[in-house]
Amino acid sequence: MQITMTVNGVSHTRDVEARLLLIHFLRDELRLTGSHWGCDTSNCGACVVWLDETPVKSCTVLAAMADGRRVRTVEDLARGGRLDPVQQGFAECHGLQCGFCTPGMMMTARWLLDHHPDPSVAEIREALSGQLCRCTGYENIVRSVRWASEHEAAQPAGGDGGTGRQAGER
């Protein structure tokens, strides 16, 4: 079946099998391999992307269900050669080791900060709790998100990770 969706501001039309999951569409069809596929049980959260404005596990969405909708992946975080503050936070605070869980963590963290610019540690933990990390013990991930929050508060202009800009504008 033919589907069209806007991924990171670019419209893509493809002929896909009806059973294809969004995560595989992104990785195998569009070669956007930033989003990871980590499990068969919708547990791990490595595949989290935004569907329209909302973080979802892209392994719980058929590609066909995203027909006509907008998808945002980790590849869209850095813009104009500048890392998103969430990405900077992960770099500054050692928020990743192997990096497998990182794209999903960052997409949820970006959404959290867009809606709750100053989240408490408990709020960060609850928001990220659908995502599993085998390496860090979460402590540094939480610190990374706090780093991004504080950095954005100090420099509001540079802290616009997405809501103020049209998707796709670079």
């Binding site: 979802v56 058929l62 709790s129």
Partner: protein, 293 residues
Amino acid sequence: MRQNVLRPGLLVDINDLPLNRVEDLPEGGLRIGALARMSDVAQAAGVVQRFPVISQALLLGASAQLRNMASMGGNLCQRVRCSYFRDATSPCNKRDPGSGCAALDGFNRGHAILGTSDKCIATHPSDVAVALVAMDAVVHTRGPADDRAIPIEEFFLLPGDTPEREHPLEHGELIVAIEVPATPTARLSIYLKFRDRESYEFALVSVAAAVRIQDGAIADVRLALGGVGTKPWRARRAEASLVGKLAGEASFAEAAGQELAAAKPRPLNAFKVELAQRAIIRALMTLTNGDTR
């Protein structure tokens, strides 16, 4: 499906059907579309204000990224989390009727203590179903022949000799909506969930509770349990024991004991008997301000 547990011949995507609304009914009830997302229902003003127990149960289930996609109809119909059911190589009467139940003498720490049979002891995993059972919700369905309104307690079937049958839906029959009747009791309601970690885990025990006190005595009470029953468990014995009593730890403990008297624990999940009793007491104490923790 991805683990070869189920192999449907045909899949139909129903997500484009116009069934995603959450409506306030004129008399104060709710009509929740079967395709309403868990996250939208949890935030709907009418749910938060008039049925806090439903909102809380939703927010304590799964995780935000899942709730943003998962539908109310799908949540009620989700399959059990029993690891033997999901491991396509173990005997399991639910998956392969007649093959046996690996959980009976297996690792059954998470399994049910109420409503079990010698064919299946898996717990129903849903949180929001527990709240809906406490609130006397009605499941509205549409089939090829007719529309039905099924009281939610009858929607979930006990395993008995046919654990493969979990609900009365016929082939081709869809849930279209869940209606929750108005009740003043719901305003003072709570959902407590006890689990192995603080978030993103199924319940070992959960309690949906609502209570209305008049002149110090319990005029109306609703209690349902999750994590302990083969279906979302309405605690009718406990309710009957409470009506007319003075609110307080003694009457709560007495009621909890009566409900759990019917429990059939197995060695690994015997702890759930006491945990469930304490959970009932804590929920009722919290609601009646006897104790907030």
